[in-house]
Structure formats: structure tokens, C-alpha cells
Subunit: 349 residues, 4 copies
Amino acid sequence: MQTNATDEQIQSVVARMVEIGFNVHRTTGTVQTILAGVGTPGQFDHKDFELFAGVAEVVRISSPYKLAGRSFRPEGTVVTFPNGVKVGGDEVVVMAGPCSVESREQIFTAASQVKAAGAKFLRGGAFKPRSSPYSFQGMGLDGLKLLREVGDTTGLLIISEVMEISQIEVMLPYVDCFQLGARNMQNFNLLREVGLVRKPVLLKRGIAATIEELLLSAEYVLSGGNYDVMLCERGIRTYETYTRNTMDISAIPVIKHLSHLPILGDPSHGTGRRDMVPAMARASVAAGADGLLIEVHPNPDKAVSDGAQSLFPQQFSKLMDELRIIAPAVGRTIATATPQSQPATVSVG
Amino acid sequence: MQTNATDEQIQSVVARMVEIGFNVHRTTGTVQTILAGVGTPGQFDHKDFELFAGVAEVVRISSPYKLAGRSFRPEGTVVTFPNGVKVGGDEVVVMAGPCSVESREQIFTAASQVKAAGAKFLRGGAFKPRSSPYSFQGMGLDGLKLLREVGDTTGLLIISEVMEISQIEVMLPYVDCFQLGARNMQNFNLLREVGLVRKPVLLKRGIAATIEELLLSAEYVLSGGNYDVMLCERGIRTYETYTRNTMDISAIPVIKHLSHLPILGDPSHGTGRRDMVPAMARASVAAGADGLLIEVHPNPDKAVSDGAQSLFPQQFSKLMDELRIIAPAVGRTIATATPQSQPATVSVG
Amino acid sequence: MQTNATDEQIQSVVARMVEIGFNVHRTTGTVQTILAGVGTPGQFDHKDFELFAGVAEVVRISSPYKLAGRSFRPEGTVVTFPNGVKVGGDEVVVMAGPCSVESREQIFTAASQVKAAGAKFLRGGAFKPRSSPYSFQGMGLDGLKLLREVGDTTGLLIISEVMEISQIEVMLPYVDCFQLGARNMQNFNLLREVGLVRKPVLLKRGIAATIEELLLSAEYVLSGGNYDVMLCERGIRTYETYTRNTMDISAIPVIKHLSHLPILGDPSHGTGRRDMVPAMARASVAAGADGLLIEVHPNPDKAVSDGAQSLFPQQFSKLMDELRIIAPAVGRTIATATPQSQPATVSVG
Amino acid sequence: MQTNATDEQIQSVVARMVEIGFNVHRTTGTVQTILAGVGTPGQFDHKDFELFAGVAEVVRISSPYKLAGRSFRPEGTVVTFPNGVKVGGDEVVVMAGPCSVESREQIFTAASQVKAAGAKFLRGGAFKPRSSPYSFQGMGLDGLKLLREVGDTTGLLIISEVMEISQIEVMLPYVDCFQLGARNMQNFNLLREVGLVRKPVLLKRGIAATIEELLLSAEYVLSGGNYDVMLCERGIRTYETYTRNTMDISAIPVIKHLSHLPILGDPSHGTGRRDMVPAMARASVAAGADGLLIEVHPNPDKAVSDGAQSLFPQQFSKLMDELRIIAPAVGRTIATATPQSQPATVSVG
């Protein structure tokens, strides 16, 4: 309460707190009265109290998420995939591949390249929402089928972005993990629906989302019963424009502290520039990330989308070698490379 | 190009520019070579060029939106509603009402109050996505029916938020204007679908969206053939936390400069605090806004959502009087008040 | 405290709080213990407590500024100048003029023009720190002498920026008001020194400063005994780059709410673009500003600095007319224009 | 130029460009005319052109800094100190110590501890500007003398912050390196003065400064003839409030790309929380930093300033071990630890 709050004003706040369902504790100092509401009341917005006469400040003490909080599962969540790959365990898991599925040859080549370097997941978009209505919008179902085929052939797990509720069922047979993009981080209806399926979800932080909001969005999925949620830092919007976004590396240790969910880094979207990707991938692992999401394209200069931030295959391979040096500093490992027996081409059918 | 770019590097960039469909103009200075691509090529990302060897900087000169640009309709767009109300004309149009439709009595009372003060639209949410999965989620279809009934009774136009494609058809018979919220500003599939209906759309700026991105999103709607688009500034996310968002009043004159579309201000979401709403409503009109979107609730302290930022009816009425003084400074008018013949209650049955 | 905090952890926090000088109030809920420290201890950083084992969150309840807070002088501060001009009273006071003093003719012409339109202060920089070491750096003492002469001739009050401690004494005989620029808002030694002189100070908000930090900086000046402090909103840095800064108009009503000090708006630096200045000047007054700081130049296209954001004299005059319409909406006035008896030129000696 | 720009408008822009000193190249496309100014004219602000009639956009192509740019010294700058320590070479150099010098015992203990762990510099503030006028303000000259004594005793280099011009001469005999803090990054007079001394300077990025602005500030120092400049990323202000600032790790590779100057990371100020410091220190080295600035205090819980972000000595030692694992991933080394022959105490008499 303000220093000059009247008793009447204080009583009126207390009355509303009790009405909502709080037990109210009152601390009277020499200059100020503090009211603490204890309990778990129903719907209310703590900001509402700021407008009561005589109120100086309203502060919410307990965190608004429960299932996503570290104390819900102090030992940490490990998401286990059907082939035994675990995210959140000892190994730092790398998911790599092109922004979009463009053709059979492109995706099979990319898969073979990223697998050889040590990736465990192939990423690739089938539905591509773009900020301009005049840009390429993705291969759709055909892209999904190619992803499944290449996954079955190579043993790579498949991750691809789901953009609306109707796509969940379409994608279910083809992917091993749903990716929810930054623009959909607060698409609450979509969050609720992926909470009802039994397939892991990778949830990306929105470009203007706080860490608390990311955890609240995870809470939506968890509260539907889907506990296989992984989070991903991919850059936030700041005043600095040299990089497309500012990758908030500190979100990695902060999320480790606040939540039990695995946290990955996406240095490709985090920087928007190929030449900055290796540095930020290394930084992510050094900061404790459980995995990485990296765009790699067989021929970035010809990519239909995001070419500027896609690594060349040989850059990716070199980066993986560097990560193998760093991982032990945080008590982790990275899968070994399995150099291809034959060169860049694979049989594509 | 960089000052030390080789001829070979320059040729390689020129070759790619021609391949994409540009006419290339080359300016060779004493220290630097500049390549200008002229024309309207197909899909490409100008950032891709930044990674070519020898390139110093890539700059896009022409604006990426066309239909939303001021030069497309230099005289400005006026959105005309069936009852003759015009947004973008001489009158500054005010849309007011509660955050959510809560009950028959609440919405009829609110409508009568805002109409008396001079509002032309009643706003009210039927579907309420909330950042916590444990909060009130809206009355749905019942809320829409109440809105239509109160609209028909009072003559107020109805505006309500559409949150996903499936809701478009549900809402069509009940509303006079679709509102697209800040979180959906880059939901491109939803933008495309509202571009295909023939009902006005109010598109809110995302909390981390640039003005250019807002205009690109408007372009999505316009490119579907729906030209009745209004824009709305409702606060952006900055480091300042005293207000919920920082309302970017300068976006109002900037959008007037860049686009022909009407631009409104939403001081309720722009500040998140009732005591700051009147100042920011006045500032919006003084800065040239074509309209306002304001939360007003018959009893804000009991509102199920956004109570802290909802005006009391008498505050709204006083604010409208202030706006009537300001509007002439920018060559505009505000509708006169029509004091209610009977007090706060109306027949609700 | 965290839900699982041990008694020992709680005791250790309590012990440290007592050591610092707090009276500690303990509230034990079913799930959590809350410790409230009441009193006014000496030096400590409340963040230090966040690292104690078992602590969930540390919140500072009382505001860290006292002299700058509204409750210190609830009726509001009015800064009165020797010629009777008052800032913080009924009149919205306008300070106008060029960015830099460039020549005798330029400053006399500017003064005559802004005075005719109703300005009460002439602004003009004598020392010009620039972000590039290769730019114009100001006329220095010669500029100050010109400012004093033009002030004495026209009756306009003189405001000019002080950039370091050694300039205070140099400037003292020549100016009626010290301006502290955004870059010096946290130059605490300079703040302390201007707190010791008896001449009004206009303190600008830094481009990344919170409102609380601005008030803390004002506290430095006030704590030295100089109570004639005026604050100024001049734009903050955000991700939006169309305008140079984002002018935070909401800071005006917020500062009115939190502090008793007058608050002005600077739409010239707030936008960086001449064509946006009038809209933001109007918005400032509509939001309740006590004054404006506006760059006006007799010939902006030839200005040595900030030409792009300087108004032409006739634009300024038109703007003042618009402000005269708006001011009554907030219970204020603006000085009447006193059209010049002869045209743009004045005798310049 | 705009698509509808008249020939007259184009001529008027060309005339002004020539007047300033540009050679003008004109490219006429089917829809738009582009004017390119080539040359190195004197003082002008490229933004001024935005206000000319018919101008669509003004873009500056060449970078505004020259001496700080990578092309000025493509091989990179190595700053060599009298005792042979090099910053910018193979070794990642660590500077550690308390925020403030508090006492003889405190600073000698800290020095011995950080030296044992492998630090090459001792950091410690003698002048402490604080955002509240009521906080501890530093030991001043006594602190400097203690720093020099401990430097001479231990062989550690001494770095301390200079806050105003008058302190340069005072500090000169006592320190091996001047630190310019974030708040002074655009104190251009101070920058110019440290440019005239012949002692290395570590320049910290301001909390709202772009990378370009940091390089422009470095340009000030370099243009005075002091080429021993090191830069430091220490966190920028964003909307995320969980950490005090958001440490922009990507600034490290970006600055490596744009400039030849060494770049260090300061994870203590970058996060403001002790528990996040190790992760961000590791991330900095993994991203390619040439050094680190870390706050370490013998007893952080009793520190008079910044205790919450200071590491315990044993945490620092463990961190150094982790960094020794990471450094080879980027082709670097870290000095080996030299465990103390006797325990934590050293002779302080």
C-alpha cells in the first residue's frame, strides 16, 4: 500500500483478496502496510489490484506455471524417441537439414550429409508460412512423404513444423517430432491440441517472448498430458540489427534453472547469417544446451528459402568436430561422425 | 562490394543477379564497386547475397509491399460500413466495450453506456485465448449471438476477434468487422482467409512487429481482394516495464505516411493500466489516428478479464468530451454524445 | 523462499536481513514462507539475496527515490524563472531553436521566429558531442555569448546543454537553464555538481533508461539541494527503426503519476524526422506534457547538425496554432503568437 | 527516389549531393531512379536527404568508421603489455577480481585467488558511480595505490575504470589498462582524452549501443593515436528481465568480422547473477572471445557492491578448468592454474 493509504483503502483491498480466495497476511511497518495473499485462488489478474485506491505496487510471488517448473521434476526430463535417441540425457543431440524440402534429390543428399557428420534428426519444412504473400509456400504433403521415406532409409528421426490444428493429423504418420515455430508460441488452441497427441513437441521461443511466457506456453502442452516437450531458443528481437535476431544464449542456463524441460539452441534463426552460425552453435553447447537445430543445405546459394543462414555441408561437419571438443567441458558428449563410404551422392531411387 | 573485391567475385554476384531476373547496373568508384539490380524478379531473399565473397553490404531499395503502400491509393482508404459509418474519413471513430462478453446484462449495459458517450462500434470478445491455460476462455457462440442482438437493438456496429480459420464462418453472420489480434498478425493462413471474405478487417500490430511487417501482413489480406483493412497500434514490447507495453504513438503518423489504410490506436492494450488510457487516447487522436479501440466495462473491478485496463463508463464519457476538443486541431470531428434518457439500465429481456 | 526451503536456509536469510538493518516479518503459508524486511537500512543491493540458498524471488517494494517521488510534494513542482515564466503551471511552455548555434545571423533569426510563434525559451547547443569524431563539434564559448545576447535582446530564456563538470562554471553566466542530455543521464558526477548550483536543470531520459532510472538520476540533483528539476522524454531505443527512436509518450502520464517534477516532450529527438515532429508534439501536449523542446532552424537544409529533424519556421508556427486548440482539453494554455512587425529578418547588429 | 519523383526533384537532390562533394551516378530503371554518391565528402548527415521531396530512401553504403574496421588491419590487433601478456593472440586472457577495492586484505586475497586459477589481470574499481546517490562510491586514490601494490607483488596486470577526464592523470601511475564503462561509451570528450595517452584501453559496449556505435566510439580513441584498444561485450538492455541484461554473445563473432580489435566478454555484468556467469563465460570463449572480465570476490555475500554477480573463488577456479577444455575448439589456449603453495591467506603486511 502507499505510505498515505487510509485504513478504509486497505480494508477494501483486503476484502477483494478474501473474495477471490486468498488468506491475507498484513505487515504494518512504520511507513507502509504490506498485504500478502497466500493460497491458490481461481481466475484473477494480479494487475487488477494496481488500480485500487491506495495501492503502491502489486507483486506476484509464486510462479504461474507448475508442470513446467523445475520443482515438478527436479531430476530433469529426458525425451526418449522410438529408436532410443534421448534428448536431455548425456548426449547433445543435433537436428540438421534444410529450411524447406525442395526435391527428392535435395532432401536425400542433405540427409546423408548431416547423418555422416553426426546429426540424429533431419529437419525440413513442408509448410512454409512467409512474411510476404509472394514467396514460396512449401511442398506440403509431398514434402512430408519424402521426409518419412528419407527417415526410414537413413534412420534419422524426422522433425517438421506444424502450423495449424488441421495439420496435426496430416503430419502424424510422417514425423517423429512436431516443431512449433516462434510465431505460434502463443497460438493457444494449437498448443492445446498438440498437448493431446502422444508425440514429442519442440516449442520455439517467440521473438518477443519472455522466458516466463515460453514456460507458460509449455504448460499448455503439458497440461494436455503430453510430457515430451523440448524448448528452443532461437533469437529475440532487440534494437541491434546487424544480426537478424539477438540469440539469447543466457536463456539456456536460465531455463535449465527454472524448468526440467530440455532446451535446445537454434543458431541459424538466432543469427540469420551463415558465418555466425558456428560460433553461436559452439556457444549454445558451452552454455549447456541439450541439443541444436541447425540449417544445412547441400547448396545454400540455390536454396529457395533461408539460404543465407544455411551451412554448407563441409562447414557443418567441421562444426561438429569443434562441438566434440567442447561437450566434455559441460559433462556431455556428441555422436561421432560416420564418414560416408561413398561421396556426396546417394541413390535417390 | 568490398573495397578489395576481385573482378571474379564481382562477376559471380552479377551472374547470380541476372539468373534471378535483374537488370544489373554497375557503378565503379575510386574505392568501391556498387551493383544495382533493377526489375521485379521472382522469389529470392536479398540477404542471400550478403554471403557471396567480396560483398560488403546488401540493401533492398524498393518496399516489399505494393497494395498497402500509400502510392497505391494516394487519397487514402475510407472503409464504409452498411449503416454509413466511415473509418478514414473526417470523423474519428471510437470502438468501445468490454474485453469479453460475460453476460446479457453486462453487454447490454456496456453498449448503452458507450453509445451514449459517442462510440460507433461495440467491441467484445467471444473467444478469449489466454496466456495461462487455467484462465477464462470466453463465451463462444453464445457471446456472438448476444453481440448481434445488442448491435441490432442499439445500432452499434459489432467488432470481435477472430482467432482461427474455422471461426470465420461461425462469426460471419454476427459481426460487422473482424478483429485480428496482435498474436495473429503473422498467422499468414488466417490472413489469407480473411482476405477472401467481404467484411472489413481490423489488423493489430504484433508486440514485436515492425511497421513494415504490419504492412506486409495487411498486404496478405489486400492481395486476397479484401480492401477494407484498418490497422491498429496497440503497444510494442520494450525494456520499459512500468506499462505493460510501450504504445508507439509515432506509428500513427508513420503509417499515415507509408500507407493509405486507416490507422487506429488501442490505448487499453497499449498501456495495460486504466489510469493511463485517457492520456494515450488523447495522444492518439492528436497524432492523427482515424479511430480508437477502448476497453470500457460497467464494473471493471468485477471484470473476468482485463479489468485493470478497462475504463469506468463515466471516465469514458469524460474522455470523449476531451477528444471533442482535440479533434479539430487535426481537422477531424468526434460524434456528439447522446445522453441516455433513462439511467444506466436498459431493458435486457 | 522456495517451497522446499529448509529452516536453516530461512534463518540464514533472516540473519543477513537483520545484519543489514531490517526488521523482519515472516509469513508462513501452506506452501511457502515469505520474509518481509521493513525499515530503511544502509547500503545493500536487494539482488544479493537472490543467490542465497532457498530463495525463490526477491522483490523491492518501496521505491528507491524519495525526493523525486510524487508523495514528497503531492501538489507538483512549478519551476519559476526570473522573468516570471513558470514550467509546471497552467501554461504549456515551448522551448525552440536550432540544434547548434552556427552564426550570429542564424541564431538571431531563429530567436525572432520562434518568439513570434509563442516560444518562451531559445534552445541552442554550444558544445556538440557527436558520435563520429569527424563531425562538427560546436562554437563553444562564442556560441554561449551569442545566446546570452539574443536572450537579452528578445526576452527569451536560454537553455543549452552542459556536457561536463568543467562547463558548468563556464556556462553559468550565459544560460537560464542547464540541459543534461540523454547520454549524460547517468553521469552521476555531473548530476551531483548541477545539484549544487542554483539554476534550473532539464534532465533528459537516456535512450535505454527506464522511468525509474530517470527518477533516480533526478534524485541525484535534488539531493544536492537544487529543486528546480524538469524531466524530458526524448525517445527510447526499440527494435523499430523507421523512426530514429521510439518516443514513449506514455512516459508523460506515468511520470506525472510517480513524480512531482514537470515533464516535457522532445519530439525532434524522439522521432529524428521533421515530418513526424508536429504529430508527436501534439501527442505530447494531449498526454499532459508541461512543455516541449523542439528543433527549429531558419534553413534546415543547410543546418550543420540535425537538419533532418528541424522544423521550418512556418511549420513551427502552424504547429503552435494546433497546440493552442489542444491545450484546453487538458486544462492548459499556450502563449499567444506575436506576429513579427517586420518579416523574417531582424537587425543583427 | 520515389517512383513518381519529378525530374526537378531529382535535379535538386543531385545538386545538393554535388555541393557536398560527391560524384553522382544515376541509374534509371523502368520504375525508379537511383542516385549513388561516390567519394569522401566532409560533414553531412545522410539522413538529411530523406526529407527532400521525391526521395524514397537514403542508404549509407560505406561504413562510418575507418581505423576500427577490419580492413584497416586485416591480420587483427594484438595488444601487448609490458610483462609480455598479449590480448588478441593465441591465449584467451582472463581479467578477474572484485567489483570494488574494499580493503587491503580483501584485494590481496582476491589477487592471490584469481592468480592461482590462471587470471592475468586483476580488476577492481576505485571510483564507483552508482545509480542511487545513497550508495557506496569507492575508495578513490587509496584504492588505486592498493591495486598498484598488489599488482607489483603478484605480477598481475591492473585494470580499473576511469570515469572522467580528471581521473586519467590520477590513475596513470597506478594502472596498466584503463577501463571505460558502458555508461561512458559515448562520453566523447573522455574518449578523445584516453586516445591521447599511451596506455591500453578496454572499451565496454553501452547497454543500448549498437555494434556500429561501439566501433565508432573505438574510432575516437584510435583517431587520437592510441591503437591499443580492446572492446568488451557486457550485455544489452532488452525486454527480458530475468537476467539484468541480455548478453549478446553474437556480438563477439560479429565484431571479429567487422573489426581488427580484440573483443572480450563480461559475463558478470552480462547476466547480473552469479549462477549464470560460468555458462556465459564458457559461451564467450566458445564464440571466439579474446578474453574475459569476471567478478570474483573472496566473500561475495559481504561485498559492498555487485555481490550477487561475483563468483566465489572456488567457482572461478572450476570455471577456468572448464575453459581450458573449450579453448582448443577455437584454436586457443588458457593459462594453466598455479595452485597456491599456501592456503587462501597471503601476507598483507
